[in-house]
């Protein structure tokens, strides 16, 4: 356990070193927040509510989403795939630790840094310029934090599987492009899932991606309460567990495939 704690801290520090990059990233996330916010301002000038969201909900949605993208990290993480391509994976797999748990610990450390330093600033800037909605119950903050952690786990579960595909495909970019597209749209990042027309909402609800963005934000906006809230969070946790299990199975199958190339 001690090992994974150290790996977690390492994951955190690895990102904390690059302060200028963090500042640049915050700038970019905030700029995109503004672009998306103005589209929604125009939308809600024409319609008072959509899918149960009003203007203030939707703007809060945008800036929470902009703050969460780095923590959730749905784009471009190919460390395992690159290790498979280079052959370094062989050394990694022979080390005496749980390969999946190692990367999860590392990823949670990274997410912890990103949640604080990339997550809070865009939201604060958004809250200064626009009228954003804050939770009414203090308990909501706790549930939101827990749901963000679960969102990182769901995202990690997907990314771990996508990376392992490199064992069979060698080139990871194809599967990566598809996973990125699903993660971006079906997570509700581009448009809230609540805005989706029926059939598309059915697809989004049947897949894990919603747990990466939409679920934590709906917790924050207090869209569900009581039993419905519990079910929503339980489904998110369920997906994280299912993806971890799938990751272990695939890793076991992949171990049998490894062919060490000399050189």
């Amino acid at each position: 356990m001690r090992l994974y704690w150290e790996v977690f801290r390492h994951g955190y520090r690895r990102w904390a070193t690059y302060r200028a990059a963090t500042a640049a990233g915050v700038f970019t996330n905030t700029v995109f927040g503004f672009l998306r916010a103005y589209v929604l301002v125009a939308v809600f000038a024409a319609s008072a509510t959509i899918g149960g969201y009003d203007r203030s909900d939707a703007l809060t949605y945008v800036f929470l989403g902009q703050g969460m993208i780095m923590a959730v990290y749905m784009w471009s993480w190919w460390e395992i795939a690159l290790a498979i391509r280079s052959g370094d994976i062989v050394t990694d797999l022979s080390r005496p630790f749980d390969y999946q748990a190692y990367w999860l610990a590392q990823d949670l450390g990274r997410a912890c840094y990103h949640a604080v330093f990339r997550g809070i600033p865009p939201f604060v800037v958004g809250a200064i310029v626009f009228d954003l909605r804050m939770p009414e119950s203090p308990l909501t903050w706790v549930l939101f934090a827990a749901s963000v952690v679960m969102a990182v786990c769901v995202s990690f579960g997907v990314r771990f599987l996508v990376n392992l595909a490199a064992f069979w495909l060698l080139d990871y970019r194809g599967v990566g492009a598809i996973a990125t597209a699903c993660g971006t749209f079906l997570s509700g990042f581009v448009v809230p899932v609540a805005f989706f027309p029926g059939w598309l909402a059915v697809i989004a609800h049947a897949l894990p991606f919603r747990g990466m963005i939409q679920v934590p934000i709906d917790v924050f906006l207090e869209k569900e309460s009581g039993g419905a809230l519990f079910v929503m969070l339980a489904v998110q946790v369920g997906w994280a567990a299912a993806l971890f299990a799938a990751g272990r199975l695939v890793l076991r199958a992949a171990r049998r495939r490894v062919v060490v190339q000399g050189g």
Partner: protein, 268 residues
């Protein structure tokens, strides 16, 4: 220069061959890009499921803005998108190799990765553009058809210029500029997708006169779509894109030259 022109197709073809080595992955990548483009456009479509007009613009008209901007952006991405690697080249010192070769530095960096995958993205943008051209109620004539080609050419040039200027900043920030670059390139594309009258005044002034995104598609599209400008800008602006594009390219070349002169190798 003559020499460089003959080299270009060869360099490009060798990259295409490299990518075709991974057949399945290449096919998946095309599907991925297809879905990704669709995701952007689906967002617009989803919004229009709830309202007939967005800030006075119909779905067909916004699709037209989206199509022209997206096609221009993806052509620019195909040509100069590899500038996204510049921060890495600067950080690792790999740019030194580029500078010692007897070819223009910008020319080499630009052609390092001629991505075939972009062809799929461009084709898809064209599909949306063609649908938009038939559904946006455009009173087509020769002038408008010509203007469409001019718009895409100028839009491409403006995006290329933005990409170069954005990438050049890494010479000063020593390799940590990719995210800021993305704000201008991908952000610029996102911005040009929508009619600029949805943005607040301060933001609109920036994109009309500083980073000339309004000339990528908004102004020329007002002419093609034969519609009133909700912002009541002078009509002359609708035809100003070629001049703006040329100016942007000249600025970009000058800025790149400054950057290269400022470049100090990391020495590793």
């Amino acid at each position: 220069m003559d020499n460089e022109l003959r080299l270009f197709p060869r360099l490009a073809w060798s990259r295409v061959r490299g990518q075709l080595e991974y057949r399945l992955s290449f096919a998946l990548m095309l599907i991925g890009y297809f879905v990704m483009t669709l995701a952007d456009f689906l967002a617009i479509w989803v919004i229009f499921q709830h309202l007939p007009l967005l800030a006075g613009w119909s779905l067909g008209e916004v699709a037209f803005l989206y199509g022209t901007s997206y096609v221009s952006f993806r052509i620019a991405d195909m040509v100069v998108g590899h500038l996204d690697m510049l921060p890495t080249l600067v950080r690792t010192g790999a740019l030194d190799t580029v500078l010692t070769r007897p070819l223009g530095s910008l020319y080499q960096v630009v052609t390092i990765d001629f991505g075939l995958r972009h062809v799929g993205a461009i084709a898809q943008g064209l599909v949306i553009l063609v649908i938009a051209c038939t559904t946006a109620g455009i009173p087509w004539d020769a002038g408008r058809a010509l203007m469409l080609l001019v718009t895409i050419a100028c839009g491409t040039a403006i995006f290329i210029a933005i990409w170069i200027v954005g990438a050049t900043t890494v010479f000063w920030t020593l390799g940590s500029g990719l995210e800021v670059l993305n704000a201008f390139t991908y952000g610029g594309n996102q911005m040009a997708n929508y009619p600029i009258n949805i943005y607040a005044g301060w933001l609109r002034r920036i994109i009309a006169f500083f980073v000339p995104l309004a000339f990528v598609t908004y102004f020329p599209s007002l002419y093609i779509l034969a519609r009133e400008d909700p912002l009541h800008t002078p009509e002359l602006l609708r035809f100003a894109s070629p001049l703006v594009a040329l100016a942007a390219l000249l600025v970009a070349r000058a800025v790149w030259g400054q950057g290269i002169r400022h470049y100090q190798s990391t020495g590793s």
